[in-house]
C-alpha cells in the first residue's frame, strides 16, 4: 500500500507522457472527411482547356477514378505534382484534376510547365464544387469507386509512401470490386 504512493503518480505521469508523445505525431489539420463512403457530390463543370465542354459526376460512373484538387497558386501542389505525373504513367487509374479557384490561363500554363497527369481538368473557378467536396487545404485527392462513392481522401500532398501503401492497394481493390458488379 505504501509503495502505491510513489508508483501511482509515476504511472499517471508516464500515461500523460505517452499521450503527449502521441500528440507530437498528430496533425490537427487532417480532419477526417465525413464524405468517406458517401456518394461523391454531383457536379457539372467546364473543362479547364475547353470552355463549353463540360463533365458531370455521372459521366464517371462505372470506373474507379482519382480526383485531384490543384491550383496554380498552391505551393504544396508543386511538391506533389511530379509524383502524380509519375503515378499517371503507371496507368493504374484515370486522374482528373479539379482546378480550384484559379484562372484558366494560369491553370493551363501551370500544367504546361509542370506536366499534365490528368485525363481532363475541371474548372472550378468560384470554388463551389470545392465546398461541396469539403476542400479546405489544397492539394486534396479523392478516390471514387465505380458506383460514384468516395472511398479515400488524401488531405495535403501525396507522398511516395501514401501512393505505395494506401492508394495503389485501394485502387486495385476497388477495380476488383467493380469487376464483380
Amino acid at each position: 500500500m505504501k509503495y502505491l504512493r510513489y508508483t501511482l503518480p509515476l504511472a499517471i505521469f508516464l500515461g500523460l507522457v505517452w499521450f503527449l508523445f502521441q500528440g507530437l505525431f498528430l496533425d490537427p489539420k487532417e480532419v477526417p472527411s465525413p464524405l468517406i463512403n458517401k456518394p461523391a457530390p454531383a457536379f457539372a463543370l467546364e473543362q479547364l482547356d475547353q470552355p463549353g465542354a463540360s463533365i458531370k459526376r455521372d459521366d464517371m460512373l462505372g470506373k474507379v477514378w482519382l480526383l485531384n484538387v490543384f491550383a496554380s497558386w498552391c505551393v504544396a501542389c508543386r511538391e506533389e505534382h511530379p509524383l502524380l505525373v509519375q503515378f499517371s504513367r503507371m496507368k493504374l487509374v484515370p486522374i482528373y484534376g479539379l482546378n480550384y479557384k484559379d484562372e484558366r490561363a494560369a491553370g493551363m500554363k501551370w500544367l504546361a510547365s509542370f506536366g499534365n497527369p490528368y485525363e481532363a481538368s475541371l474548372f472550378d473557378h468560384d470554388g463551389r464544387v470545392g465546398i461541396d467536396y469539403g476542400v479546405y487545404g489544397v492539394p486534396e485527392s479523392f478516390l471514387i469507386d465505380a458506383k460514384g462513392v468516395i472511398r479515400y481522401k488524401q488531405i495535403g500532398p501525396f507522398t511516395p509512401e501514401a501512393i505505395q501503401t494506401k492508394l495503389i492497394p485501394l485502387v486495385q481493390q476497388l477495380q476488383k470490386e467493380a469487376g464483380h458488379v
Binding site: 496533425d27 472527411s33 465525413p34 504544396a76 479546405y136 487545404g137 489544397v138
Partner: protein, 161 residues
C-alpha cells in the same frame, strides 16, 4: 504541408489592406461591406450562424472572424442560403455534411464526442473523490499519527521516507 505560407501571406495582404483603408488611403468600400448595407438583418443572422462554425483553414477562428478565402466564400454561401429561406439547422447540417462535427464549436453529444463532453467532468469527480478519501482517512487518524505542528529542529521536518 498545406498552403499555410500562402494563407498567411494572403492574411497579411488583407491586414495591410484593412490598415490602408483605416488610414483613409483607400476610399473604395471593401467588397464585403456591400451586402451588410443591403440587408442588415440577414447579415446579422449570417454572422450569428458563422460565429458557431470553425474555419477549417485557420482552425482557431470562426468562419465569421476569419479572413481566409474559404471563410469568405462560406460566408457568402450562408448569405445565399438564408436568402433562399433555409433554416439555421439546415445551414449547420450543410456544413457538417462537408466538414464533419469538427466544424461545430459546440459538437453534438454522441459516441465519438462523449469523451470530449464528459471527460472534464470525470476528471473533476475523480479529483474530488481522491481529495475526500484523503481527508476522511486523515480525520479518522489519531492525533499522534500526525507530525507535530512545530518542528523542534530542521532535521525533523524532513520526511524520513
Amino acid at each position: 504541408m498545406f498552403d499555410r505560407r500562402l494563407a498567411s501571406s494572403r492574411l497579411l495582404a488583407v491586414v495591410l489592406a484593412a490598415l490602408l483603408l483605416a488610414l483613409g488611403l483607400g476610399r473604395a468600400a471593401a467588397n464585403e461591406a456591400a451586402p451588410a448595407a443591403a440587408d442588415p438583418a440577414l447579415e446579422a443572422r449570417m454572422l450569428a450562424i458563422t460565429a458557431e462554425l470553425r474555419c477549417m483553414v485557420c482552425q482557431n477562428q470562426t468562419i465569421a472572424d476569419s479572413h481566409a478565402d474559404l471563410a469568405v466564400d462560406l460566408r457568402q454561401q450562408v448569405r445565399e442560403m438564408l436568402q433562399k429561406g433555409m433554416s439555421d439547422q439546415q445551414i449547420t447540417d450543410y456544413m457538417t455534411q462537408r466538414y464533419g462535427d469538427f466544424v461545430l464549436y459546440r459538437p453534438p453529444f454522441k459516441g465519438s464526442t462523449a469523451l470530449l463532453w464528459i471527460g472534464p467532468g470525470v476528471m473533476l469527480v475523480a479529483g474530488l473523490s481522491v481529495l475526500v478519501l484523503v481527508l476522511r482517512r486523515r480525520s479518522r487518524m489519531a492525533p499522534e499519527q500526525f507530525e507535530a505542528d512545530e518542528a523542534p529542529t530542521p532535521e525533523s521536518e524532513r520526511d524520513p521516507a
